[in-house]
């Protein structure tokens, strides 16, 4: 199924829940059926709108986790304890429930195999979501564009899509984890926050002119982007998506 950038006025569409699947203790993927979904590009997001019965509304943006190759729309959501929308999406929603969403939007933070590589993806926690859509699409199209994913999580049990990433590793994709708070026994990987040295080791170097996508909480993105620029990467080659404090 070809994904196409949406032209024309955006409308709020009704999306119906097909299933809710736990990824980790705090993260769930909600699968939606969206009639007349126009398709999307990997990396794009949707705006979700919820209305309570007294008319109160809340709106949040969520990256699309599923590749355009799937017929359904998946959103992977981390439950924030003091969140307003994420606890609803992860704890309350059931099959058959309906929400409104608008999109897809955000052609800026998009990667498709036709753009080439090498590809460097840097994810902090739930920042993996749009990058996973890119990797899923890369796999579904059989692309061999060289790609590296540097993925920061709190602990091994917090790694979203852990098994699937293990499965995707290879075929030109290298998945590198860093676990910042706790590591399993025998862990020999990175055990600290993403920094300049780590990025330099994980590569690719600036001279290879990789396409770089960084996604996660604002402080994470800020630090990673700064480190990448200081390693010589062109700012124009670095695309960032900050989740900001209002995510949730």
């Amino acid at each position: 199924m070809a994904g196409a950038a949406v032209l024309g006025r955006l409308i709020w569409r009704v999306a119906e829940v097909v299933d809710v699947v736990a990824e980790t203790a705090r993260v769930k993927t909600v699968g939606f059926d969206v009639p007349d979904w126009p398709g999307h590009l990997p990396g794009q997001h949707v705006d979700v709108r919820l209305t309570a019965d007294d008319g109160y509304q809340a709106q949040r943006s969520y990256s699309i986790a599923s590749a355009p190759d799937r017929a359904r729309l998946d959103l992977t959501v981390e439950r924030l304890d003091d969140g307003e929308v994420s606890p609803y999406l992860t704890e309350e929603l059931q099959q058959g429930d309906q929400i409104e969403l608008r999109g897809p939007v955000g052609g800026y933070f998009v990667w498709e195999p036709s753009r080439g590589g090498p590809l460097l993806l840097v994810a902090g926690g739930s920042g993996i979501v749009p990058l996973m859509a890119m990797l899923r699409h890369r796999a579904a199209t059989g692309s061999d564009v060289p790609a590296i994913l540097l993925f920061s999580s709190r602990g091994w049990e917090d790694v979203i899509y852990r098994d699937e990433l293990e499965h995707l590793d290879g075929n030109g994709l290298s998945v590198v984890h860093t676990l910042t708070r706790s590591q399993p026994d025998g862990w020999r990987g990175y055990a600290r926050r993403v920094d300049k040295d780590m990025l330099a080791e994980v590569g690719p170097s600036a001279s290879e002119h990789p396409h770089v996508y960084v996604c996660g909480p604002t402080p994470f993105v800020e630090a990673a982007a700064e480190a990448l620029v200081s390693l010589g990467h062109e700012p124009a080659q670095i695309r960032t998506e900050r989740f900001g404090p209002t995510g949730g």
Binding site: W12, T51, A52, Y56, A58, E92, D97
Partner: protein
């Protein structure tokens, strides 16, 4: 087509409050949401000053120390944001605008608040006098956080909260009204929450 209601969605715990405390279209919150139009300024107190200028005989200026030496009041007020949240019984400490304007003669009928970062908002002068407005520096018994407008912000609780400039640095008194940052861009020129004056033409 009205928006779809999502089963079971409640949003943040919203208090039931007596209707005479909650303007139309507002929802009472326990949080204190942070809204911003730009990067948070961080002005050091030894750089900070507050100025009253414009339609006055001479410019009036207070350093932070001079400002702190002025008589201040603790007030408990309800605040209403145009983005639909209201917060009841918020406690502030600040200097009344009446105190600052005491002894200042002016023919101005309008005042423009101006802030670090370039934000402005306009009001009739009578809406900041007579015990209706303060330059607040403490919130909830603590020094005002930069993200909430610290070191000092305007507090004009009878109007939507965009009329209370964060990081305020002064007042310009004017004979002519000068719509400010949001008033020139769709938000109502006066902003009375009880008449739901959110946007132009409301």
């Amino acid at each position: 087509m009205p928006p779809l209601i999502s089963r079971g969605f409640k949003g943040r715990r919203r208090d039931d409050a007596p209707p005479d405390r909650v303007p139309p279209g507002q929802y009472v919150t326990n949080d204190f949401p942070v809204l911003s139009a730009g990067p948070t300024p961080h002005t050091a107190l030894d750089q900070w000053d507050f100025t009253i200028l414009g339609e006055v005989d001479e410019l009036h200026r207070w350093t932070w120390d001079e400002f702190q030496a002025l008589p201040s009041e603790t007030v408990t007020v309800d605040i209403h944001c145009v983005t639909k949240w209201s917060k009841l019984d918020t406690e502030w400490e600040g200097v009344s605008v009446d105190t600052l304007l005491d002894g200042i003669e002016t023919s101005a009928e309008h005042v423009i608040q101006f802030s670090d970062g370039g934000y402005t908002t306009n009001l009739p002068l009578e809406d900041v006098t007579g015990g209706k407005a303060w330059i607040a520096f403490d919130y909830g018994g603590e020094p005002l956080d930069p993200e909430h407008g610290g070191p000092a912000r305007m507090l004009v609780p009878h109007l939507y909260f965009w009329k209370s400039a964060k990081w305020v640095r002064g007042l310009r008194l004017s004979t002519a009204d000068e719509p400010g940052f949001w008033e020139t861009n769709g938000y109502h020129n006066y902003g009375d929450p009880w008449r739901e004056q959110r946007y132009w033409g409301d």
